[in-house]
Structures are given as C-alpha cells and as structure tokens.
C-alpha cells in the first residue's frame, strides 16, 4: 500500500472515480486508475468470452479491454464518441499487477467518500453476484456502486467463466 493511500485512509476518506453505465453510476478507487482514454478499435481475441472486447496497444504493452455492460449482462450499446476506456492497474494474487481497460459510457466525477459512508451491498441472493462490489454510497440522492476492481478483473475469475463454458461444451459433445 502506498504512503498516500495510507494518508487518505487515516482521514477515513477515499477518492473514487465515478462513471456511468446504462444510466447507473459506478465507482472505482482512483488509485487503481492509470489513465482514461477514448474508445478506439481493438483487436479481437479469438474465442475469448464476449465481454473481452479485445486487446489494445497501450504504448507498447498489449492490454485487454473488458466491456462492463456485457460483464454485468446489461443491454448492449454502440460505442460513441463519449465512450471511454478506463485503464486500471489491477492486483493479481500477491504483488503481481497487470493493466486492463474497462469500457464505460462516460466518466462523471471524482468523489471524496468517507469510508463510514460506504454501505455494504445488500444480499441479492442468486439474482446478483455482489462479490465484485465494495459497497454502495449515496451521493446527491444518486446511488453509486463501488466496484472491487481486483476481484472484478481477476483473470482467474475470467478463467472460471471459461472453464464453465468449456465444461458446457464438453457436455454438449457428450450428448
């Protein structure tokens, strides 16, 4: 954990970058954000899960781009000039980090949120997976869903999804 992170913690305030996705507002820890760029065409990865839009050249390194709408099974929407890619630095198990981009409809704001004002995400049962949620926050009567980036974009989770689809296709073959 970086020193400024601790400094922010000590005041019990964290900064979040908020963005819009299908008229809902989501937030990610600002310290995870590396940069924000406009949408540009990506190279499709063959046979990848549909929410992986492809890979992009970020100054010499190849980074995958995840479409959060598809990740959250929201209705698809065409990419416009307002569409942005938020480049995040994600921590894999241990200290390993990697860079990934998420596609969002638009970025909105940077908010200082008191940790005490972050509410735990309610349990939606099987309808909704709240593992990727850090919590919720109400700002000007709008609800902001704060995402846990490390869990959301963990490649092992992506693997899980693929193994499931793999086993499904194996099952198909058996039939």
């Amino acid at each position: 954990m970086t020193t400024d992170h601790i400094a922010v913690n000590s005041k019990q305030i964290e900064q979040f970058l908020t963005f819009e996705l299908a008229n809902e507002v989501y937030g990610v820890e600002i310290l995870k954000v590396q940069e924000i760029r406009g949408w540009e065409a990506v190279r499709v990865i063959p046979n990848a899960p549909s929410f992986i839009k492809g890979v992009l050249n970020l100054r010499g390194s190849v980074i995958p781009i995840v479409d959060l709408r598809e990740r959250f099974s929201l209705e698809h929407c065409d990419y416009t000039q307002k569409t942005v890619v938020i480049v995040l630095c994600v921590k894999r198990h241990r200290a390993e980090t990697f860079v990934m981009g998420i596609v969002a409809d638009a970025v909105s704001d940077v908010l200082d949120i008191k940790l005490s004002e972050i509410k735990k995400a309610p349990n939606f049962g099987s309808q909704l997976d709240t593992r990727y949620m850090r919590g919720m926050h109400v700002y000007k009567k709008n609800m902001i869903m704060l995402l846990d980036v490390d869990k959301l974009l963990n490649p092992d989770e992506l693997d899980d999804i693929e193994t499931i689809s793999d086993s499904v296709s194996d099952y198909d073959e058996l039939l």
Partner: protein, 687 residues
C-alpha cells in the same frame, strides 16, 4: 568434439569475479556467533557456481580449492558448525586466494601454488580441526570453546576480553512457573554487551508442540566486567527450572555491536523455516526482528556490451538526429519544389531507423548456442570421470533468446545437466541389464512455443523414484507423513532447499543446492520449470521462459477485418485456392491436394470465430501451407498482406494464454496483431 572454449573464458572470469565479490560482501556482513542463513546461502551459491564453472572449463585447481570452501560453508549452512571469526577470516583469505588464482589463469600465468597450498592447508585445518564435534554442536554442553584451534599468526589479533558465556537450557516447565526468558535477557543486557544464540533443535514437530512448554535453549554471550555472582543472581529465580552453565569467555577483540535493545531482545535463529521461527518467537515471547535491509540485494540486471557496439549506436543516433534536423529545416518553409528533397530525407530516416533498431536488437538477442556450446565439454569430462557413456544431442541451437536470458540460464542449465549426468544416466552395466543401449543420451532442446522459449533437458536414464523422494522428504522433515501428494507434487519436492537424494556427496552434484537455486533463477526470469519423470525410462525437465524481446519474421495475413501474423519459419508455401483442389472426407473434414499429398485445411475464419468482413465464398482465399507438430497442414485465409519483422509482446503479461495464439505484436499503424501458434492451432483443429 572440439570447441574452442577460450571464447567463453572472458565471461567465465567475469562471472567468477562477480561471485567472489558476492562472497566477500556476504562474509563481511556475517555476524559472528549469530547466523543469517540467507547470507550463508548466498556465499555458498557463489562458491558453488565458481566451482561448477571452473570444472566446466577444466581449471581443476580452482574447482578443487572451491570444493573445500564449499564443504566448510555447507556445514555452516546446516548449522553443524558455528560461524566463528576465525572461520570467516580463513574464508575471506581463501576468497583472496581464489581471486589471485583466477587472475593468474586469466593472464595465462602459472598459478602461485605455494600461496594456494598454504591457504588450502588453513582451510583444511579449519575444516577438520573443529568439525569433529560439529554435528551436535547445538547441545549446549558439547559446544566447543569458540576459539579452539588458533593458528599462530592469528593469535595476535585475539585479545582477552572479559565476559561470560552462559549456556541457558530451561526445563520444559520454565514458562509454567511464570518466568520469562526475555526479562532475564533484559537484565543481562543491562550488565554489558549481550548477544544471544537460540537453539531450537529440540522443538518437536508442530502437531506435538505444547505451547506452554519451553523447548528452546540459549547460548548467551555477555561482554561485561560483572562478576559471575551477578549473573547467577539474575538467574536465581529460574535456578531450579533450568540447566545453567557459566564459563569465562575469551573472545575476539572485534565484537560486533550487540543488536539487542532493552525493549526488543533479538534472537537470530540458525536454520529454521520462517513459520518455525514465528512459533518459537510467540512461544517464548521473544521478538524476532526481521530487518528488511539485510535481505540479500537483487542481482543487478546489467548486461555486458562491447564498447564498439555502443559506439556504433551513438554514431547511428547522431545520424538520426542530423536527419531529423534536416527534415525539420525542409518543413519550416515548405514549398512543393522541395518534395524530392523531403523524400530523400525520409528515405534516409527510414534507413537509419532500421539500422538503429537492428543494432539495438543485436545487443539483446543471442542464439542459445552461446550457452549450449559450453556443454559438450562438461558432459565429456564428467562422463569420463564417472565412467559413464553419454552422448549429448543439441537441438535448436539457433533459437534466439534475449541476452539477459542467455546469461542467467547458464547456471541453472549446468546444474540440471550435472544432475542428469550424475543421477539420471546409469552406469553402462546397469543400462545393459535394464535392456537399454549402453550409451546414455542427454538431449538439450530449445524452441519457441506458445509465447515462450522452451528449453528441455531429456535423459533416458533411470528416472526419479517417487517413493524414495517422498521418503527422503519425510525424513528431512520437509513434508508431513500424513500429507497426500500427487505425483507432480512429489517431483516438485526436489526444488525444496536442502533436498538431495544422492547417497554420497560428489563434487558434481548432490548437495541439494542445485534445484532450489535453479528454480529461483528461472522464476526470477519470469519463467517456470516442469519435470516429467518415469522410473526406469528417464526424465524430462522443461524450462519455459517468456519471450520478452524476441523478434520474429512474420507473414501477415488477413481474415475478415482481422490481421494475424504467421511465423515465417513455419510456412512452407502459399497457394491460391481453386475449386477442384478441395475435397471433403466423409462430408466433413476438408482436405486439399498439394501435388501428390492430401493435406487437412484449417479455416481460420471458423477456428477463430471471425465474423467481421465480407464473408468470402468457401472456395475463395489463399492457403498457407504450414508445418506444425511435424505434420503439414493448410491455413485458409482471405489474403496475404506482407512480410515483416515483428517484436513479440506477451499476451500473458496483462491477460492470459490464448489457445492458438503465441503472442501479440504491434503493427506499423499502432494496432495490435496476434501471432499464430502454429503447432497449437494444429492441435486445436484436431480436437
């Protein structure tokens, strides 16, 4: 086989001197009396590498000499021998002696055998002199007076220093009686300079551990003017609950500053896994201070480059700058009549940039033969020494690897090949009895696969006995008897520090230093190591290393809107498809006729699920005939785009492995193109 080894001497000497430096700084940072096992390990590894290297190059004098040092260090590492100043001095002396020897060899002079022999004798005295009582040195009553066999020239350095040596061996119930060793130590510390050495030999296995029992004992050193009675007084509370032995101390003058502070007594633990240390610390309520600054510094990632090459680079950069300023000048007041000039300038810039790129690449990329060609000699020498018959086969020597990889992969490979030679391949008689050819084979292969460089060491020897490995691991206390392990996990045991199944030590291998270092080195390169072994049939050790800066000649092909790169080496030819070439086997598997052969077709559009672009008719496009996994096969693509050199970027760095794709690259327009993994695709299509 004759290979001019002298071309590698320079590298060897540089490595040796680096190793000597590491040993020296390690020895100097050793605290007398308390042992930091990591430091000793570092010194030991350096000595081991020097020994290995000098063996490879036939400098037996150096190898023999280092072997003695290594034995000494090995005993220290295992805690069988206390680290005394005397031993450290002798070792330091021998580092100097080694340096002298190597310098003489480097300058092609005769080695000064007189001074070498003198140092060797000193080493042997040290080795034999106090080693006798070593194995159980931890038993307090058996600890030899630290400065036992002093040699005359060293006595001058020794000064009688007043103080006491206290062997403090609490009974199991010490803690139950409410006594706290920490309190005692704090009071001792008040009397003078205080150092402690903890002995955790008697700690039972974790499952039998009773946290209320005190299973550890201490060896304390107190430099003070206080009388024995004063010390006895401190221990008066625990007198009945411990065995106490107080002896006067004669100590080297240079006493290290004690690391004890009144509030946090420090216990340096000899050899123990961190969790044991932790449990000990908790149990005795002693704080084990871990000082991060004491961690061994990371090996610097420097590479050696000819100054000539750098000069060339500087020249080229100069040219580029000149061209750029020329172009800037043209651009300032541009008129159409300057177009010719501009074009010439751009052409010049292109040429310079290409040259520049090439020379930068030249610096980093080397064929793996740079490493491989050192091995025939090693195999020859060792097999003669062991009276074994072994041939070494080298495959894929021209595979290009990053220079950093070339340099760092050498030591691990030496270890692995030595292991194969020593433990893998059997004696000729044994081989014949087992129905194998008398001549053993070790194959060293290198190839690119799946975004990795794979180096394989394959031997047809006796393989590894998993039951024996497991038994050894249990005996050494590395695993618990109750643990159920898969075959793969058992094989992985050989990567644990201090693990060796060899019954006797040889100077070739068998100290159990090899494999953990091997794995550490390879992991530090971002790679991994796998073992496949079958008892009686042989072992295969595969090292996977990422291609960081590898470049490759590629053919770019278009499929829909996507661009893929096919490695040029795997392309046999490309042909335009015609209707009558296509055949279907049983209405499904498509084949085409190439001259007299029928080859399977892989439709890239289908296998990669490409939906974009105008759907081409099934009989339009280009077939790229490739070789993968030893078989020919045709990739059906929309069109060929062009050939170019591409820099391989790993997809795994930020994503993960993708089947059928060995990596990615960045095209001239800044977009990403995926590089096809030809063998992988052939496999994928068969499935």
């Amino acid at each position: 086989m004759s290979i001019d080894m002298s071309q590698f001497h320079q590298v060897f000497f540089e490595e040796c001197f680096e190793g000597l430096e590491a040993m020296e700084s390690g020895l100097l940072s050793l605290d007398i009396g308390d042992i930091d096992s990591e430091v000793i390990n570092t010194i030991f590894r350096a000595a081991h590498s020097i020994k290995g290297g000098s063996g490879t190059f036939g400098f037996t004098v150096v190898a023999e000499y280092t072997h003695i040092m290594e034995t000494l260090l090995d005993e220290m590492r295992d805690g069988r021998r206390p680290v005394t100043k005397q031993a450290v001095d002798v070792l330091l002396g021998s580092v100097d002696c080694l340096r002298e020897m190597l310098t003489s060899i480097q300058n092609e002079e005769d080695v000064n055998m007189v001074s070498a022999a003198k140092h060797q004798a000193a080493l042997e005295i040290e080795l034999n002199g106090s080693a006798g009582n070593a194995p159980e040195a931890v038993k307090i009553d058996k600890v030899a007076p630290i400065a036992a066999p002093l040699k005359p020239e060293e006595i001058t350095e020794i000064d009688e220093e007043q103080g006491w040596k206290i062997a403090f061996c609490p009974y199991l119930n010490l803690l139950k009686t409410g006594n706290d060793p920490v309190r005692l130590f704090r009071e001792l510390n008040g009397l003078g300079e205080f150092t402690s050495n903890v002995n955790i030999q008697d700690i039972p296995p974790f499952d039998e551990l009773d946290p209320e029992e005190c299973n550890i004992s201490w060896e304390l050193k107190l430099v003070t003017e206080a009388k024995e009675a004063a010390i006895r007084e401190i221990f008066s509370w625990v007198e009945d609950d411990c065995a106490l032995e107080i002896t006067p101390l004669s100590k080297p003058k240079k006493v290290k500053k004690p690391k004890i502070t009144p509030t946090a007594p420090v216990v340096e633990v000899v050899t123990a896994t961190p969790d044991v240390v932790e449990s000990v610390a908790k149990k005795a309520a002693v704080v084990v201070e871990s000082d991060p600054s004491k961690n061994t510094p990371k090996a610097s990632s420097s590479i050696r480059v000819d100054t000539d090459k750098i000069d060339t680079l500087i020249n080229m950069v100069g040219e580029v700058v000149i061209t750029q300023s020329m172009l800037g000048l043209i651009g300032e007041n541009f008129t159409m009549d300057k177009v010719g000039q501009l074009k010439r300038g751009l052409a010049q810039l292109e040429r310079h940039t290409r040259d520049l790129q090439q020379s930068v690449m030249n610096i980093r990329m080397l064929p793996i033969s740079f490493v491989f060609s050192r091995f025939p000699r090693l195999v020859h020498d060792i097999s003669t020494q062991l009276h074994k018959k072994i041939t070494l086969k080298l495959v894929g020597e021209n595979t290009e690897v990053d220079k950093a990889v070339v340099e760092l992969i050498n030591d691990p490979l030496v270890h692995l090949i030595r292991n194969s030679l020593d433990h893998g391949i059997e004696m000729p008689a044994e081989r014949i009895a087992a129905g194998k050819p008398e001549m053993g084979t070790i194959e060293l292969k290198a190839y690119h696969r799946g975004g990795h460089i794979v180096i394989e060491i394959v031997d047809d020897g006796r393989g590894m006995d998993k039951a024996k490995l497991l038994a050894k691991a249990i005996e050494k206390g590395l695993v618990d008897e109750a643990t159920i392990m898969s075959d793969k996990q058992i094989l992985e045991l050989i990567f644990m520090p201090g693990f060796s199944t060899a019954e006797k030590l040889t100077d070739i291998s068998g100290r159990g230093v090899g494999m953990d270092v091997v794995r550490r080195n390879i992991q530090s390169l971002g790679g991994n190591i796998d073992i496949i072994s079958e008892l009686g049939k042989g072992s295969t050790i595969a090292i996977h290393l990422p291609l960081t800066l590898a470049i490759l000649d590629g053919q770019s092909v278009a499929v829909g809107d996507e661009t893929y790169i096919v490695p040029l080496v795997s392309i046999i030819e490309s042909i335009n498809i015609t209707e009558k070439m296509l055949n279907k086997v049983a209405g499904k598997g498509e084949t085409f006729k190439l001259r007299s052969e029928y080859l399977p077709i892989i439709r890239m559009r289908e296998i990669f699920n490409v939906k974009s672009g105008a759907a081409t008719k099934s009989n339009e496009g280009v077939i790229v005939v490739v070789e993968g996994q030893g078989a020919l096969c045709g990739f059906l693509v929309d069109e060929l785009l062009g050939q170019q050199q591409v820099v391989i970027k790993s997809l795994e760095a930020n994503y993960r492995r993708v089947e059928g794709v060995s990596g990615a690259t960045i095209l001239g327009d800044g977009s990403v193109a995926l590089i096809l993994d030809v063998p992988g695709l052939v496999r994928l299509s068969v499935r």
